[in-house]
């Protein structure tokens, strides 16, 4: 059985809640670390929480020691997706040794169709050489590069023509675009059910699993409608970080405004909110929103770790419950 929901491991709580959920419910889920979250040389997600190196390899070990029901997927594998603007090759080599599936996504660097296609083919061939059992996801989300229905079909056909049949058959997932885009804590995409159906049709024609990115902040009913229309699965990431950040903010506020302000200051100084908001956004006038947007980026900061010692540890039980409640709403 394939997972319907793929979750961005934006924090240790999200990872642990996912593992606990699959084990309790015997229901598969996917975890989709981006290269900035967890990569071969580390990342901002401190899932080990003990000073050890949070790498692709230790992440895979951490999850697989606890469950076999989580599919491990590299999200946006490829150039310009890491902490530095590299070619992404060393990252993919490590992914081949530790993950089930790699989303091959060179489109941030190459928006030109032919260049993006060529890089996709090259990266797939290279990854297959390292691990002939590794599976692939192709295409990208519209915030990175928009695909029309015709172009998506041409893309899959070109991959089929250019790749050895055995290698093409390792492509399992196709990213489809039906109008999702994230800004601050909102999904501002303009949804088209016709486009969704057309793109799902392409995936079906090539025996691929349709997958949509940026499913965050959508009403559960809309996600379920998409599944009814034939969408196989969806990615959700920052929404789970927001759930955790909001609960932490609430607990700090209960403790006293100075604690909340300290959390806000760590968030504001991190500048991690900048890419998610408009130029006019003033953090000082939007304390709770700033925390909601970028709280999860600072969980590994020593200043935040010190601050959270002021909270009762049971806050993390509540956070995991809230994350699992949202998972349940989406897939059940």
């Amino acid at each position: 059985m394939q997972p319907k929901l793929f979750i961005g491991p934006v924090s240790k709580s999200v990872i642990d809640a996912t593992i606990d959920y699959v084990n309790k419910n015997n229901a598969p889920l996917g975890l989709i670390p981006s290269r900035r979250q967890i990569d071969f040389s580390g990342g901002y997600v401190d899932f080990l929480d003990n000073g050890l190196l949070n790498t692709t390899e230790s992440f895979s070990y951490y999850v697989r020691k606890k469950t076999s029901l989580v599919t491990l997927v590299r999200d946006h594998g490829g150039p310009y997706q890491g902490q530095i603007d590299d070619d992404g090759i060393e990252s993919i080599r490590n992914d081949c040794l530790n993950f089930d599936l790699i989303h091959i996504d060179p489109w941030k660097k190459y928006s030109d169709y032919n260049l993006g296609l060529k890089e996709t083919i090259d990266l797939i061939n290279q990854a297959y050489e390292w691990n002939p059992y590794i599976k692939f996801e192709v295409g990208t989300e519209e915030a990175i590069r928009k695909f029309s229905t015709d172009e998506l079909e041409r893309f899959v056909l070109d991959l089929k023509k250019s790749l050895n049949t055995k290698i093409f058959n390792n492509i399992k997932y196709l990213v489809i675009q039906s109008g999702t885009a994230l800004k601050a804590n909102k999904n501002i995409g303009s949804y088209s059910s016709d486009q969704l159906k057309d793109m799902i049709e392409i995936a079906k024609r090539f025996n691929l699993i349709s997958k949509e990115h940026n499913g965050d902040y959508l009403p559960s009913d809309l996600i379920k409608d998409k599944f009814k229309l034939g969408l196989d699965c969806i990615n959700i990431a920052p929404e789970f970080g927001k759930i955790e950040s909001d609960i932490l903010a609430e607990r700090f506020q209960e403790k006293g405004d100075s604690y909340l302000f300290e959390f806000f200051k760590i968030c504001k100084d991190s500048n991690k909110w900048v890419k998610w908001v408009d130029k006019e956004f003033e953090p000082d006038n939007n304390v709770l929103e700033t925390i909601s947007i970028c709280g999860h980026y600072v969980f590994s900061y020593p200043s935040f770790k010190k601050l959270k010692q002021n909270l009762e540890p049971d806050v993390y039980i509540d956070i995991q419950k809230a994350i699992q409640k949202r998972i349940k709403e989406i897939i059940e």
Binding site: L48, N50, L52, L53, T55, E57, S58, Y61, Y62
Partner: protein
């Protein structure tokens, strides 16, 4: 010696993580056949004996947690202990190990051979 920091950081992470998870298979893959373990209680030679000792420790405690702040590369020129003279792939790792409700601050000196296998662990209790 040209130190590949990430390479050794990864090996140390694998070792401490496997220890925390009581994963003897993963630990065994990291050990050289000739490993030497010395701590404030025992001195053991050879992979089999060290793994057996680890198994005994794992059986005594339900949970093991290791906190690791940093590691330091030791240059052999500065080592007084003659058993480590020839080893330059040695790292000093100050850790806090929590065995159920007992916490110990320990300094582990861990040496690797040229193939990246652990050849000696010397542990000092604070």
């Amino acid at each position: 010696m040209k130190l590949d920091k990430l390479f050794y950081q990864n090996l140390l992470t694998k070792y401490f993580l496997a220890f925390q998870e009581k994963d003897l298979v993963a630990i065994s893959e990291l050990f050289s056949d000739d490993i030497v373990l010395k701590d404030w209680v025992v001195e053991l030679n050879g992979k089999e004996k060290v793994l057996k000792f680890n198994e005994e420790v794992f059986g005594k405690f339900e949970t093991i947690r290791i906190s690791f702040d940093n590691f330091f590369h030791c240059d052999s020129a500065f080592l007084i202990d003659s058993t480590h003279e020839a080893e330059c792939n040695m790292f000093a790792c100050p850790i806090r190990i929590t065995l159920d409700d007992i916490s110990l601050d320990v300094l582990d000196l861990i040496s690797f051979d040229n193939e990246g296998k652990i050849i000696s662990i010397t542990a000092y209790k604070k």
